[in-house]
């Protein structure tokens, strides 16, 4: 299962789920699914999210049991 720091970084940047969704071109619900780990985003969306938070993709997403970079 894919783990992520989307919620943490979103809070740090002060975005709502809706605002972040707008910035990366998805709905608020999709951001919520990603944060809850219910949905693994595509590489394209993962790259867009990482760019928005100015981090590398593997700092934003990592596999369960592995430490984030």
């Amino acid at each position: 299962m894919l783990q992520n720091r989307v919620k943490e970084l979103r809070a740090r940047y002060g975005f709502s789920q809706g605002e972040l969704g707008e910035r990366v071109g998805v709905t608020r619900q999709t951001i919520a699914f990603i944060e809850k780990g219910e949905f693994s985003p595509s590489v394209t969306l993962a790259l867009k999210l990482a760019r928005e938070f100015e981090v590398k993709v593997d700092e934003l997403f990592w596999l369960e049991g592995e430490k984030p970079s």
Binding site: K7, Q17, R28, Q29, F33
Partner: protein, 166 residues
């Protein structure tokens, strides 16, 4: 999102299916007569009192629901001009496809419906084969499958979209 017409659409279909069931009960309770020969072609239906009342009430309710349904579609199209819905579109109205997350939800729901049909269709076919059922029960069986299809889809989509923003 919960109030999105596409999310609520299966509920409308379920209501129409129930009404269609009542129409089927009324019509199968009627006695019919068809005359078809060289000089005449006629078809008549005669309803007993109870069935005719049931049919009248059901048709009135269907008409009212249909008007509300059309108003809902019109409202949705006004509010979401980029996601216009039509009665006549081939793709089911209930599909959510505006981004990959919504496509994922639709896929999950459709998979559950498919799994239901994998089991339900042979089961219903076997029931029809083993029992000598009337026309009404065959129609009710088909309506039951359709009703379950929308119910499963709705429950699965609702499970995802009902979670509120943190």
């Amino acid at each position: 999102m919960k109030k999105d017409f596409r999310v609520q659409y299966p509920l409308w279909q379920m209501a129409f299916i129930i009404l269609f069931g009542f129409i089927a009960i009324s019509i199968t309770g009627a006695s019919s007569e068809m005359i078809h020969n060289d000089i005449e072609f006629s078809y008549s239906l005669e309803f007993p009192a109870l069935e005719s009342i049931l049919l009248f009430i059901t048709l009135a309710m269907t008409f009212i629901l249909l008007i509300i349904f059309i108003m809902k579609i019109t409202n949705h199209n006004k509010r979401h001009p980029q996601q216009k819905l039509s009665f006549w579109q081939i793709k089911p109205i209930e599909y959510l496809e505006e981004d990959e997350g919504m496509i994922y939800i639709t896929r999950r729901a459709a998979q559950k419906v498919y799994t239901f049909f994998v089991w339900a269709l042979p089961f219903v076919a076997m029931i029809y084969l083993l029992f000598n059922l009337s026309r009404l029960w065959i129609v009710i069986g088909i309506l039951f499958l359709a009703f379950m299809q929308y119910l499963i889809f709705y429950i699965e989509v609702r499970k995802y979209v009902s979670k509120d923003e943190n």
